[in-house]
């Protein structure tokens, strides 16, 4: 057993209102640069929908992820190493910028510099690639909120995968169809296809926290990672010619701060914490034959942080005590493994993704309420989950390789929680048979409710700081709200410029600004 720590994320889709705040703040922090105009390390897509980049889930085209061969071994769907090297001069799976969208700006200057004329001057869209006027035809959220209607939505690879009659059903009742939002970042997989595909060896998984990164000094722009990632979460910076991706905001995590997307999430639906997993078993788990068993195999990789044997093995690997404590308090471990309500996105890609999702119950509650039923009554809900096969099959294609039972079980737990808590909130006698019906106790369902509904900041984010003296110093620096006299702390007897260089963070940006005004 080789115990490794992995920073993981859970998103509670029931709470996502599709406001795109995570995407925008992420963009401002990381990709607001030339060459990455089109790239969204975090994006929010409406499902059903084509996603971003368009139809990325169609692995027959871009050949992302891993496949299992007849001998029971897994290899990249894009082919062998030799084949990848042979196609290095032109990667046949490479995405075109139009698969994302052509980035543009507007000729704002024309609004004030246009000569006096009969017509009001307009700001025409201008391509950021060619500098020429262009027609805007697609963007990262072109089909937001089912925009574009059936003609767009029916190109959703998942809808197409579901049987023919289901597609017709969704199309016929389009106005009544279900809809939910899916925020996506890099999955920081345990078995990352991008790392395996990189010819230069520039991509790597950090041994301490499992974050997948691109070494910018070592990347040579062979662009194999772009197509090998089944989630299409590695982007090609077309100005520098190098791959870039979500870093899970590691500079923030290292000092115990949550990622930008989590911190700014309006719905407070993101959870960050540690998993302990057995690195020796990853390959074996990813090679399991039955795709539907991959979810369970992934769960089995996650080790119980309260098991003394696991703790001893973790200590032997040099995982520090505060990290073990953080793993024991990890909200993501509870949601994924203890309550089993968080599911991985597309486990069938065999990458062992480490961003998990609590599937949305709300579409089902909404449909129930619209039909005149009590949407939160346990009996009604349990029945409805079974009756509404379309959303269920769709969710199963996303989160459990098509195993409807897995999704059904999580939704039953969520609806049990709603019904059970409603009795408490309305001052009625709590009914222990509701948690029992889903294999939970009153205590555990109440704890789950605390984590999902109350979702305190310190419960959502359990992030141990990185172990290096520099990071500890950063941690001690605190933020401007601490009430510390920053002049004393930063100025010191030798003035601002002496001592260690102060890293640029939002905090010290504000501190510097405050100092200027004094």
């Amino acid at each position: 057993m080789k115990v490794m720590a992995q920073m993981g994320m859970v998103m509670n889709l029931d709470k996502c209102i599709g406001c795109h705040t995570c995407s925008v703040t992420c963009k401002q922090a990381w990709t607001n640069r030339s060459g990455l105009e089109y790239a969204w390390f975090n994006n929010v897509e409406t499902r059903p929908g084509q996603g971003y980049p368009r139809r990325y889930e169609d692995q027959e085209k871009a050949k992302g992820g891993w496949v299992r061969n007849r001998r029971g071994r897994i290899h990249l769907k894009g082919g062998s190493k030799a084949r990848r090297l042979l196609s290095i001069f032109s990667n046949p799976r490479m995405l075109n910028i139009k698969d994302y969208y052509e980035p543009w700006t507007y000729e704002y200057d024309n609004l004030i510099s246009a000569p006096l004329g009969q017509q009001t001057p307009v700001a025409r869209p201008k391509s950021l690639l060619t500098g020429k006027p262009m027609k805007i035809e697609w963007s990262a959220n072109w089909d937001d909120d089912l925009g574009g209607g059936p003609s767009n939505i029916e190109k959703d690879p998942i809808l197409q995968k579901l049987s023919e009659d289901v597609t017709t059903k969704v199309k016929l009742a389009f106005e009544e169809t279900f809809m939910f939002y899916l925020p996506r970042i890099c999955e920081h997989c345990l078995n990352p296809a991008c790392v395996a595909a990189c010819p230069s060896g520039a991509m790597y998984k950090r041994a301490e926290d499992g974050i997948v990164l691109v070494d910018q000094q070592q990347c040579r722009g062979w662009r194999m990672c772009i197509s090998a990632c089944p989630y299409k979460k590695v982007y090609f910076n077309h100005k520098t010619g190098k791959a870039e991706k979500c870093t899970m905001c590691y500079p923030r995590l290292e000092i115990g701060m949550p990622t930008v997307c989590s911190e700014t999430c309006v719905g407070r639906l993101r959870y960050l914490g540690l998993f302990l997993y057995d690195a020796d078993k990853v390959l074996e788990a990813a090679s399991i034959e039955d795709e539907k068993a991959l979810y369970q195999a992934q769960l089995d990789l996650l080790l119980d942080p309260n098991d003394p044997e696991v703790l001893a093995a973790a200590r032997a690997e040099g995982i520090p005590e505060d990290w073990l404590l953080a793993a024991q308090n990890s909200p993501v471990y509870k949601l994924a493994k203890v309550y089993k309500i968080a599911l991985p996105l597309h486990p069938e890609y065999r990458t062992m993704p480490m961003v998990w999702y609590v599937p949305p119950l709300s579409p089902i509650v909404d449909v129930l309420t619209e039909t005149g039923h009590d949407g939160e009554e346990a009996g009604n809900l349990f029945g409805a989950i079974n009756a509404l096969r379309v959303p269920l099959a769709y969710l199963a294609e996303l989160f459990s390789a098509g195993d409807i039972e897995v999704v059904e079980n999580t939704l039953r737990k969520l609806s049990a929680m709603r019904s059970y808590m409603r009795d408490i909130n309305l001052g009625r006698e709590p009914r222990p048979e509701i948690p029992e019906a889903v294999g939970m106790t009153q205590e555990s369902i109440y704890e789950m409710y605390r984590l999902l509904a109350i979702a305190k900041y310190e419960d959502r984010y359990v992030i141990p700081a990185a172990h290096s003296e520099q990071a500890r110093e950063l941690e001690n620096m605190g933020c401007s709200l601490d009430g510390v006299d920053m002049g004393e702390k930063f100025g010191g007897p030798f003035g601002q410029a002496s001592g260690n260089p102060v890293p640029v963070t939002i905090e010290n940006f504000h501190i510097m600004r405050d100092r200027q005004s004094k």
């Binding site: 190493k81 032109s90 060896g201 041994a207 000094q217 077309h238 010619g241 990185a466």
Partner: protein
Amino acid sequence: MSSTSILLWSVLPYLAIGSFVIGLVWRYRFDKFSWTTRSSQIYEGKLLSFAGPMFHLGLFAVIGGHIVGLLVPQSFTELIGLSQEAYHFGAVTMGGAAGFATVIGIFLLIYRRRTTATVFAATTKNDKTMYVFLVATLLAGCSATLSSAGVIGDEHNYRETVAPWVRSILLLHPDGTLMQSTPLAFRIHAAIAMSLFIIWPFTRLVHALSAPVGYIFRPSLIYRTRDNESTTGNRKARPGWERIKY
């Protein structure tokens, strides 16, 4: 031997080697970030899908032919029973085919670069300069091949002139007189090629030196510990500027 000849065939080769080696070391140490293919495939893929491999694979064959033709002495091939006529026939046909593919490939690539608005917008002045030298080298090389085959002017055995000259350079005993009797096409090709080597480290051509052969032998997944990372990327700190170890 005129002073121009000495400069061209005894001095310029060492300038080229010096610029190439020192330039590459400098670029690797101080500007590793820009060491990339600067691929434009994200903008356009259809033309590239055949022009890219055609140019690169053609070039591999051309480079292989140069290595054999310039470094293996004629006496050696004759010793193993390969007559000059047979060798020459093989070199001209295979070299000609490879050169032809390379030239067609680069013209397709330049056509693509010029006509695709996105790719053209991403083309720098540095790229354009490099293309001039690269295309000139290739065209001069092709005309030298034709010249050695006797299509242009008299047939010429470069293995008695150019090849010994290259070896004399590498053995640090330059003999420029060997180049004086060669047809003009060979001299032009050699001179432009040397200037291409001079500018090489300062262009996108550096990506040729990072061909990822090691990929075949490494494990699929790579783990790195955080402690290996320094704040200055992977580059070692300059002497006197090492970080304090706590």
